[in-house]
């Protein structure tokens, strides 16, 4: 272990506080807002003077459609993640292990797609989706999300696959495994940290999207939570919906937190140690 001097410790401490402050203040602020009563919402104090959970019960009232939106969000993000991982792991494996014509083209294409500004395709997509009947459906959102989550996952996963000694795969082949068996029973278990990393990234990308969800949905059938939030109105047209929006925002972050906490435990580094050499 490295020993730090007193000055270094102080500097590290200050740095940590600054970063934590910067990252957490907006979150705490939203949390605080969500706990304020409608009357005190504009009182400009950081901590609520009157604590209430009213905003949370308001969010889940039937009329707002937020319950349905949460289900849409979870469903769409999960399906996107699972599909992205399934396709990306196979694609990344092929890209790292095989030499085939057009390999660089695929990688470059994947990169180009992920660089493409979403706003430039969303208008055209709106028209196409209405014609083919994907407008306001789950697949209508899953498809565009996949097109962004896939390149991201392929890149992440190929970095992890590259770390796995090729000898392991040869050994599996010698042990009588088919290509698919070697992949599923030897390579994939070792690449699990990468799979979880890619999974979290894909899930967050799909979960956070506002643009596609806003343009390509119109009803509760497929509207996701971030968009539903923007549709919040107060109890009457004179009530400020800020409290409810804040509560909704807090609710929306919870699944992400759970996802990260679950998967973080699985991202164990050094899983391949012991495979090779003495």
């Amino acid at each position: 272990m490295e020993q730090y001097t007193r000055n270094q410790k102080i500097l590290w401490g200050i740095g940590t506080v600054v970063v934590l402050f910067y990252a957490l203040i907006p979150v705490i602020w939203i949390l605080s807002l969500s706990l304020k009563t409608p009357e005190t919402i504009g009182d400009q104090s950081f901590w609520p003077k009157e604590w209430t959970l009213e905003n949370y019960s308001a969010v889940f009232e039937e009329g707002l459609g937020f319950n349905r939106a949460i289900i849409n969000s979870i469903g769409i993000a999960l399906i996107t993640t699972v599909l992205a991982l399934a396709f990306a792991s196979m694609a990344a494996y092929a890209i790292t292990r095989l030499d085939f014509p057009g390999k660089t083209l695929i990688l470059a294409g994947a990169l180009a797609v992920s660089m493409f500004p979403a706003i430039s395709v969303v208008g055209g997509l709106f028209n196409v989706w209405r014609v083919v009947g994907l407008y306001d459906t789950w697949p209508g959102l899953i498809l565009p999300y996949l097109s962004f989550a896939l390149p991201l996952s392929i890149y992440t996963l190929s970095a992890f696959f590259r770390e796995i000694p090729w000898d392991l795969e040869k050994a599996a082949q010698m042990d009588g495994a088919t290509g698919m068996q070697a992949f599923r029973r030897v390579i994939l278990p070792l690449a699990m940290p990468g799979v979880f990393t890619a999974g979290i990234l894909a899930f967050i990308a799909a979960w956070n999207d506002f643009l596609f969800a806003n343009v390509l949905t119109s009803t509760d059938a497929a509207r996701t939570a971030p968009v539903a939030l923007s549709f919040f109105r107060g109890a009457s047209q004179f009530t400020d919906p800020s409290g409810a929006i804040a509560a909704g925002a807090v609710v929306v972050t919870i699944p992400i937190l759970i996802m990260v906490l679950i998967f973080q435990r699985r991202i164990v580094s050094g899983l391949t140690s012991g495979a090779v050499k003495g």
């Binding site: 040869k170 082949q173 042990d175 495994a177 495979a275 050499k277």
Partner: protein
């Protein structure tokens, strides 16, 4: 179990580089064959082709009489031990060893008994439920062996399996590998760059250089009758001494001494044109301190006087280094040997250096003039241009 036949097997990569040229090798059923050579000589490529991990560009590979050129590795029924061991890190030792049997969908009772049997042979009983990361180098090596033997395959392929072990463990495992191979009597192809491993393990040794097979023979045959300079220099440690020489009228002129060739040597090398550039090869142990040579032995050779540059006491023997005159041997094959040894030739102030192995009793000293005897019956002669051994055959 089966024999393995390589019939004019060639490997050319897509960039035009030929790693293995026209390799002909017949490995008998149950034989322990060593492929040895400096790095880049094509020995690992040859092994990978037998394994099926690399395609064969031309030629035929037969295992047990069946052409397997186009067969996938899993259909060849051979097991391989990798230099890196390539253990599956997420599986226990038991699962590592059982993996092939599980893939083959064998009944659980059979898997258990075979794994236990392999663990018994390899002394792994107490480690079956550990992960490879928690094992020592020697234990990992044994797990890799276990993975191979549990399947009872037609052949074992081993790619420098001991090179990651420390020196002491390597000697120990070397004996163990030999014992296991002997016990199971499975055809084995073993790749190494270490001539000691090659000599001690193999029934026969195949020496390769630049993708070309140089000589296949038993270790003693290679040692006593090397076909060319490369084989002569590669086998044996310290290596054979090479000196420029000519033969005139039955007398070999070496830089430090002229030696009258005995009848059987003259017959062995056949007729040689006077003045033809030759290379004489003398193994270190074919020198001796003249005082320690018996009378009956003495007439087999010649003596000369020299001063030693360096004396290395090894306990059981002395290695002495002395200069052999200004002229050095120039030959492509000697350069290859040098490259393998690290590219540095040992030179004294007076040119090339000869290493001799003397009796422990001789108590020689640096700088003292000593009479050295050389056994003329053990001389080797090579054509300086081609590197081939002179032979009347």
């Amino acid at each position: 179990m089966a024999d393995i036949v390589l019939d004019r097997v060639t490997k050319t990569y897509s960039d035009g580089y030929t790693a293995v040229k026209d390799l002909n090798l017949e490995i008998a059923d149950g034989e322990f064959m060593i492929l040895v050579g400096p790095s880049g000589c094509g020995k690992s490529t040859a092994l990978n082709m037998i394994a099926g991990l690399e395609d064969i560009s031309s030629g035929e590979l037969r295992i047990g009489g069946e052409v397997v050129n186009k067969k996938a590795p899993r259909d060849r029924d051979i097991a391989m031990v990798f230099q890196s061991y390539a253990l599956y890190p997420h599986m226990t030792v038991r699962d590592n060893i059982a993996f092939a049997l599980k893939l083959a969908k064998r009944p659980q009772s059979e898997i258990d008994s075979k794994v236990n049997e392999a663990a018994d042979i390899l002394d792994l009983q107490n480690h079956l439920d550990r992960k490879p990361a928690n094992l020592s180098g020697g234990q990992r090596q044994r797990v890799a062996m276990g993975r191979a033997i549990v399947r009872n395959p037609k052949a074992f392929l081993m790619d420098e399996p001991l090179s990651n072990l420390d020196a002491k463990l390597r000697v120990q495992m070397r004996a163990e590998v030999a014992r296991i191979q002997h016990r199971l009597n499975t055809t084995t192809v073993y790749v190494t760059h270490d001539q000691t491993e090659a000599m001690t393990l193999g029934d026969r040794v195949a020496i390769m250089l630049h993708g070309v097979l140089q000589q296949v023979a038993s270790p003693m045959e290679l040692y006593n009758n090397p076909k060319n300079l490369f084989v002569a220099g590669f086998i044996g440690s310290p290596g054979m001494n090479f000196l420029p020489a000519t033969i005139d009228n039955g007398v070999a002129k070496l830089p430090m001494v002229d030696i009258k060739l005995p009848q059987d040597v003259a017959e062995r090398i056949g007729r040689v044109d006077a003045g033809k550039n030759l290379v004489a090869g003398i193994r270190p142990e074919d020198f001796e301190d003249a005082r320690h040579v018996g009378v009956d032995q003495r007439e087999r050779g010649t003596t000369f006087k020299t001063k030693f540059d360096l004396v290395e006491a090894m306990g059981a023997e002395y290695y002495v280094h002395f200069p052999a005159g200004d002229s050095t041997v120039e030959s492509a094959q000697v350069d290859d040997l040098l490259a393998d040894a690290g590219g540095v030739a040992e030179l004294s102030d007076q040119g090339a250096v000869v290493v001799a192995r003397l009796d422990a009793e001789s108590r020689v000293k640096v700088g003292e003039e000593t009479e050295v005897w050389v056994d003329a019956t053990k001389l080797h002669f090579f054509d300086a241009d081609t590197g081939e051994a002179l032979s009347s055959r």
